[in-house]
């Protein structure tokens, strides 16, 4: 009783899914970091202390 194909398929799909997930998280992080840098370059900063700088 050997069903190697099923075993291979399940490990393959598992690997594929996990790798895709990792890649997605990584790419997402990189894109966000880029956007933050671009905004920073455009001179837009976060207002961390809202009360302080009216005008």
């Amino acid at each position: 009783m050997s069903h190697t194909a099923y075993v291979v398929a399940s490990y393959g799909i598992a690997a594929l899914t996990v790798v895709a997930l990792i890649l997605w998280v990584w790419a997402d992080g990189r894109a966000r970091r880029r956007e933050l840098q671009a905004l920073d370059k455009a001179g837009i900063r976060r207002r961390s202390a809202p009360a302080g700088d009216a005008q």
């Binding site: 207002r47 809202p50 009360a51 009216a54 005008q55």
Partner: protein
């Protein structure tokens, strides 16, 4: 009756639009909110009307009957959108709002025909709302202010589509409401035609002029 706004601030998404706005309006007083595009006038009005949650600060109505749950129940809000159904006739629209809204204590709304008369559009209330011109639609939306009594009117660019005579007509309605001890807060780019204090939004905090 007195509308007291204290240290109000509000957010859109993650960031503050304005903060620390305090105003006290007595019965019969009007406040005009001015400022450049995007400075937060509409946001302020929506907070006053209880449609947006304030980040901090409070809006209170003093001297109203104590069984009022929330100040918004004493307010009319006329936003950019008219809150009327295109498929229903003006009459159907207005009488729905009249019976749905009911009257606040201390006054009573006039009836639908009289309200359309007061806005200079008597006799066309049998038309579907969608058949009216932009200015006529706006005027019919204003008739809502009259059919149900509310002491506080909050108006966002009320006169945008109105012609000169309707402008005057509307100023008259506002005067009358103020004269009867009402309170009006309006955001406009053009002068409203009534005596009013001015709150200038400058982008981050408002300042009284």
């Amino acid at each position: 009756m007195r509308l007291r706004v204290e240290g109000l601030s509000a957010k859109r998404g993650e960031d503050l639009i304005f903060h620390g706005i305090s105003v006290v309006l007595d019965a019969g007083e009007a406040l005009v909110v001015t400022g450049p595009n995007g400075s937060g006038k509409s946001t302020l009005l929506r907070v006053l009307a209880g449609l947006l949650v304030a980040e901090s600060g409070s809006v209170r109505v003093e001297g109203a009957s104590p069984d009022i749950g929330h100040p918004r129940e004493l307010c009319h809000y006329l936003g950019h959108r008219n809150a009327m159904k295109r498929e229903l006739t003006v009459m159907e629209n207005l009488s729905f709002w009249k019976s749905f809204m009911g009257d606040s204590a201390g006054g009573s709304g006039i009836d639908v025909e009289a309200a359309t008369e007061a806005l200079g559009l008597g006799g066309i209330s049998h038309l579907p709302f969608g058949y009216l011109s932009a200015g006529q639609q706006r005027r019919m939306a204003m008739a809502k202010l009259l059919v149900a009594h509310r002491p506080v009117w909050i108006l966002d660019e009320p006169t945008a589509a109105l012609d000169a005579s309707a402008d005057r007509l509307f100023a008259g309605l506002v005067e009358r409401h103020l004269g009867a001890g009402g309170i009006v807060v309006a955001a406009t780019h053009q002068p409203l035609g009534v005596d009013a204090r001015e709150l200038r939004m400058t982008g981050f905090a408002g300042e009284m002029v």
